[in-house]
Every structure is written in structure tokens, then in C-alpha cells.
């Protein structure tokens, strides 16, 4: 698995766009909307190498924070100009409201690409990059508010261990969110999807990234991944409550959610 991603790191984003025809952006947006984080949330994004989820999280929290500040200002109708100025200054430096993202990935190359992207796009505060294995996270218990793993859990050899680690590092009340390729139940769509996956994607891999085998591996690993209900059962086994999934695009992708209660 490590070597697959070593090859893939630099072209990861480009391949994502071409394979999914850009829809992966929408899927990730939906994930963040479902999370609906408020300022002050501590997010752990596992297998989040190039930082897609992290950046979206920061954008979302920033806009929520903006609205909060605007509302506060509206209430300050009766204060003197001096007081308004002071409170505005104080809040202005806290544009993220103490929210933070820790991006954890097993692969150094992916993290490097992610850091470069962050610099390029201008994300400076609230981000940390940590090298780590999902089956054995280098964090203490009860630390994070939300744990996400987007398109990463199928690459984990022991999914149950990863789920147990997720349970461990989450605070009580914390949320587990998993975005992953899943099973399409509609038979017609399933045939079309299979056709596309096995014929088109490896070819794209060869053309764009010069690596046909990695993408063949990718498509096969998607097929071997447990379907929605089974993954839900595994999440419940790890101790999560209110486990639930939402199919996107008829099951091509599913978002699983659970709470540590």
C-alpha cells in the first residue's frame, strides 16, 4: 500500500479529478456540510494526505465564524465606539474561533504534497501535519471532536483496528465520519460502473500518471471493500452509536457516521 501511494502522491489530485469527473469535490463538500462544524471544533483527518477535507473544513468554519462575529456586532448597538473597536480587534485575530485540523497520513509524500498545497492556497493557521498509521494513532485518548477518513479506510489492512483507534481518540460525544466507495445496488448502474472502472480508470492511470498497476489495484480494492451494511456493523462493533449511512450517487460513494456516546 505504501508504495502505491508513493507513486501516486504527486498526481493524486489530478487523477481524482479525471477519474471521478470532478464529482469527488462535491462528495467532499457534502461530507463537510453533514459535519456542520462550529468554531472551536478539533478535527482529525486520517489518510487525508493532500488536505482536501482539511481545507474545506477551514473554509466552512471561517464562514460560520464570520456570521457569528457579524451577529455579535449587531448586538453592540449601544456600546461606545471605543468598546466596539476593542472587541472587534480581539475577535478579528480569532478568525477560526480556535478550530484546528490535524492531518494524519501514513505516507510522507502525500503529506509533503499537502503542505505545499496549503502554502500555495494560503492556508496558514489551524493546520498540523502528522505522520501516523491509522491502526495505531500517535495521539492521546479523548482528544478530538471529529474524526474523518475520506477514501482512506479501504487502504487500511485491519479496518477494525482503525475503527477502535478512532473510538479511542475521540472525545465523548465525538463523531466518526467515513467517506468511501461502496456498493451500488442498482443492477443497471452497477454494470455501467463496472465497465467504467475496469476499462477506463487504469487507462487514465497510465496516460496521466504513467502507472497502470496502481489504479488497477485501486479499482480492485473498491470491489473488495465491505458493503454499506457490513461497514455499519463493524463501526457499531467498535462502540459507536447512532451509526448511519447516506448513499451518494446511488451507492457509488457512501458516508458512514457514528457517535461516541
Amino acid at each position: 500500500v505504501y508504495q502505491v501511494f508513493e507513486n501516486v502522491a504527486k498526481k493524486y489530485d489530478v487523477m481524482n479529478d479525471s477519474m471521478t469527473l470532478g464529482i469527488h469535490r462535491v462528495w467532499k463538500d457534502i461530507l463537510i456540510h453533514k459535519m456542520n462544524p462550529c468554531p472551536g471544533t478539533l478535527l482529525l483527518d486520517v489518510a487525508g494526505g493532500t488536505g482536501d477535507i482539511a481545507f474545506r473544513f477551514i473554509n466552512y468554519v471561517r464562514s460560520v465564524r464570520q456570521r457569528q462575529l457579524q451577529r455579535k456586532l449587531k448586538h453592540h448597538q449601544n456600546l461606545s465606539w471605543q468598546e466596539i473597536f476593542e472587541s472587534y480587534q480581539k475577535d478579528q485575530f480569532n478568525s477560526l474561533g480556535d478550530s484546528q485540523v490535524v492531518v494524519c497520513d501514513i505516507n510522507k509524500e502525500m503529506l509533503k504534497v499537502g503542505k505545499q498545497k496549503a502554502q500555495h492556497l494560503g492556508y496558514s493557521e489551524g493546520l498540523s501535519w502528522v505522520l501516523g498509521n491509522a491502526e495505531e494513532l500517535p495521539f492521546d485518548d479523548d482528544k478530538f471532536d471529529v474524526y474523518t477518513i475520506a477514501f482512506g479506510i479501504r487502504n487500511v489492512t485491519r479496518i477494525d483496528l482503525a475503527l477502535q483507534e478512532a473510538y479511542r481518540v475521540l472525545k465523548p460525544g465525538g463523531r466518526f465520519l467515513c467517506l468511501e466507495f461502496s456498493h451500488v445496488s442498482n443492477p443497471l448502474l452497477s454494470r455501467l460502473y463496472d465497465l467504467y472502472s475496469f476499462q477506463v480508470i487504469p487507462v487514465l492511470g497510465e496516460v496521466i500518471a504513467g502507472d497502470w498497476r496502481s489504479y488497477q489495484y485501486l479499482v480492485e480494492s473498491i470491489r473488495q471493500f465491505p458493503p454499506q451494511e457490513e461497514l455499519k456493523a463493524m463501526i457499531e462493533d467498535a462502540g459507536f452509536f447512532r451509526v448511519d449511512y447516506e448513499n451518494l450517487n446511488f451507492g457509488i460513494v457512501a458516508i458512514h457516521s457514528g457517535f461516541k456516546l
Partner: protein, 294 residues
Amino acid sequence: VKCQHYPPVRALQASAALRRASDEHKKEPLTSSSQQHFDSPPASHQPEQEPQGPHPSYTGQGGQESEDYESEEQLQHRILTAALEFVPEHGWTAEAIAEGAKTLGLSVAAAGMFHSDGSELILHFVSECNTKLSKLLEKEQKLVQLGEAEKKPIDEFLRDAVEARLRMLIPYIEKWPQALSVLLLPRNIPSSLNLLTSMIDDIWHYAGDQSTDFNWYTRRAVLTGIYNTTELVMMQDSSPGFEDTWRFLGNRVADAMTMSNTASQVQSTGEAVVQGLMGAAVTVSNAETSRAVR
């Protein structure tokens, strides 16, 4: 390793028991789960929701969180109650719920359990208010039964009950219009309507209404109308202590009483008219027959 051997669809009780037990206990429920699986195939089609009611508590083990001793529903209840405190500041939103969860020591992500528009919070609040009203009316009824208080005439009773219920909105009055609009969302209408009708029912019950005829409907409809219009007036009332609203309420209740009197008057007048016509008809027919005889 263990989870790969579980059948993909499992009975609810097993999964709940497994979650509750510590590692040593895991083997016990496993055998009972396979039994339940064979005994009740329909159980496998149940929606995956936590069973209502408290979980079995295992003393000693698994005592890390107090949730071991309460059900999910109870926890949600506690979060929503805690969230009410933050409503004046944040409105009926997921943010208020997140702040409420924080005060209970939970992560702010727990607000993700509820809808982002705050529907559950509002419904919870309305249901709590209705319960408070019931308790209040019950207490008053007991006092009357014990002879410690006078039985109120019906218009005064209705007026006091509606006023007491509306006063519960006062701490949240600024954000209440927002709440009303959320309650009118199609998704929420069944629940909000249910809560409203049961509240009105309660008030009439304690008012001593025992009608079983058409009056039952008219009384409910009239009181619902009075309650809703007074609530709307309250939203726009800026008089001290909401005196304008209470005056409006008093007038509406008085109108309703007059209307019912008028209705019964109309009814008796109608009866009188009918009797008069019958008498006239009889007289005329008698006169005809007597003339015919002559």
C-alpha cells in the same frame, strides 16, 4: 478479528448488549445473539436504532461514562434541555445544541445527532412547556378538590391557563418567531400539530369539559383559535409586562363565551319559531276542517 465472523445482519439486542459489555463479557451475548437471530427473522429487518428504555447496567465494568446507565433518548433529552439555556444568544440552531452538549462535558460534535435547523430543540421545548402546564393545572385542580380554593368560572379558567402557557415563552420571545416558522415546516407539522392539540385537550379536560357531542370539536377549535391568535399578538407586543396581550386574550375569551350564549339563544329561538309555525299550521287546518264541517 472477531467482527469478521458476525453475520451481516444482527438482532438489535445483541448489538446493544455487546456494546455495553466489557471485553470479558463479549462471549456471552454472542450465543444469545445467534439464538435470537434464528428465532425471530423479522427482527433483522428492524431499522438500526437504539432500543428505547434504559440499557442493562453492568456494575463495575464499563463505568467510564454515565451513558452506560441511560438510553440514547435520555441523553438526547439532557442535551436539549441544556441547550435551551443558550437559545436567547444563538437562536434555535445547532450552535445552541452544541453549546448545550459542551456544558454536559460532551464534544460539540454531538450536535450532529440532531437536525441542523433546530427542529428537535423546538419540539422538545414545546413538549416540556405542555408538561409544565399540565402539572400546574393538575395542582390547581387538587387544591379545588381539597376545598382550599374556589372553582373558577370557565372564562377565567381558560384565560389563566392560556396566559400561564404563554408566559413560558417570555424568556425566548425574541427568537420565538423563528421557532414558529420552523414548526410550520412540512416535516414538523405532524409533531407540532400533535403537541398543540394535546395541549388544548388538556386545558379543556381540566376545565371540566365532558362533552361527547359536536361541542367537543367546537370547543377545541375555538380555544385553538384563541391560543394561536394570542400567541401572534404576543410576538409583536412591546407593552410593559405584555399587558396588551393579556387584554387581547381576555377579550377573545369573552367573545367566545358570548358566542356560545348567542348560539344557544339562536337555538332556542329557532325552536320557538318552529313551534310557532307548527301551532299556526294546526290552527289553520282546524279552522279549515271546522269551516268544511259547517
